[in-house]
Amino acid sequence: MTEIGGIIKGENMLDIRKTCSACGNRIALLSDSGEAKTYEELVTFADGFAAAVPSHSLVFILAENSFGAVMGYVACLLHECVPLLLNSATEASQLRHLCEVYTPSYIWLPDVNSSIGDSYTAIFKASGYTLLQTGYKPFDLHSDLALLLSTSGSTGSPKLVRLSRQNVHSNAESIAQYLQITAEERPITSLPLYYSFGLSVINSHLLRGATILLTKYSVSDSEFWQFAREQHATSLSGVPYTWQMLKQLRFMRMQTPDLRTLTQAGGKLSPELAKEYIDWAAANGKRFYVMYGQTEATARMSYLPWDVAAEKPGSIGVAIPNGRFELRDMDGIAISEPDKQGELVYYGPNVSMGYAQKSEDLLLGDCNNGCLHTGDIAMLDSDGDYYIVGRMKRFLKIFGLRIGLDEVERLILSHFDTDCYCCGTDEKLHVKVTNPDVAGQIPLFLEQQIHLFRQYIQISVVEKILRNEVGKVIAQ
């Protein structure tokens, strides 16, 4: 054990018992309705939760940004249950499918959602949340497994990322280091808990004994800013869309004296807008951090140090503490000279154990050995800062939603009588179909299935999708 900033941290990430011994009556969570929970109360709650849920159980958490969700999550980590964090707005049919695939013994969900499991038994209630026992038989999980997150967040795919205790702990520790998080910080939640970036904010701050301001409001609501002002929020995190929205709301002209740290990840912010924020922040005593990551690396892989950011808008900066990058050319050989493009490969203790597609996969060990092929094409400048220039894999990131083009194609092909091909940019999904009769139904269908607003879906009708002999789409 080492001691950092007066708070003792242990091997086990979020071992709040240890944080508690240093600052038990410090407030861990504050809600927008004015309620507070201390670190000690989190531990007490966790013990009550553990009395109902045996350790090494699989628990689905339908996560809102609220006490119930965060406390249930912390309780799982403390007592070595494995939570899968899901959007509380997950469609009933998608949730049922996930339950059938992974057979969780328990579901922790908001009281208002508890009708989802009519056939399940409610066994415990607290802070607006209900614990349902599903009746699925408990099964063995790998002993290192700590947490499961969904990669798509939207398509309801059962593909999950398997994260170990070490992954969660090390990434929170690296983030706390480079953002210089102390117990004095008061981040406000502007991202969902079930999203790896949003969760990383919670983890890195709980690790340092900070106070987290929990709200379900969005930055586009006046209630959000009232809460931020009244409770002196010190940091705000957003995906590119958050920062675009804040620009529209003329955030840079708002009075936000307490906000010191601003972070952006979850996709590429345009270099122009990044530069605007970086310069404005520097002139107003704030720090704007551009960062890069993936759920496959728990959350964070790089950050652009705020003090050099002004000269490098568009860069993702350097690898986080305890991580490193490598660029590889087409033949897999490491590139060391600047300005040459290659695949970005990341090494670090936060690289996930791998994916899961079914319950048996939860018994698998580490399949990645600390090495992640990001699928992004990057290059290096002469100072050693990285720039993302493209992507190898077929997915888009719109509003921080990861949209797998293959998955979208599969969805369309299975519901409509048409051939189709998807492409697009991080601004718009472009769907090409061959059957003009179904074209009009597709935007609404996709909106329901993947939760992408129709206005960001463009449909065109083509005569034919050209494919080669193995069925692969050629030159569109």
């Binding site: 609501d221 006046s222 529209q248 609404l444 607003f453």
Partner: protein
């Protein structure tokens, strides 16, 4: 098109609803699809369609069909 027709059309396009559905009950609390993405989209459309620059405080209080009318009225747009 009258200003009211233009106003309604913005909601019709963004929420894929019929004109009859617009009214007192068309609020963020009642309309499931009313999220921040749509909220900001409608506000952009207001600014474009009526050639106004909205006050951020007003944008954040835009939580219903009726509230939008009040915001535009403040900007001297009669519906």
């Amino acid at each position: 098109m009258t200003n009211l027709e233009k106003y309604n059309q913005i909601f019709i396009d963004i929420f894929d609803v019929k004109e009859e559905e617009l009214g007192d009950n068309f609020t963020k609390a009642e309309v499931e699809d009313w999220d921040s993405v749509r909220q900001m989209n409608i506000l952009s459309q207001f600014e474009e369609t009526f050639d106004v620059i909205l006050d951020p405080e007003d944008m954040m209080t835009f939580k219903s069909y009726n509230a939008g009318k009040k915001i535009l009225a403040k900007n001297n747009i009669a519906l």
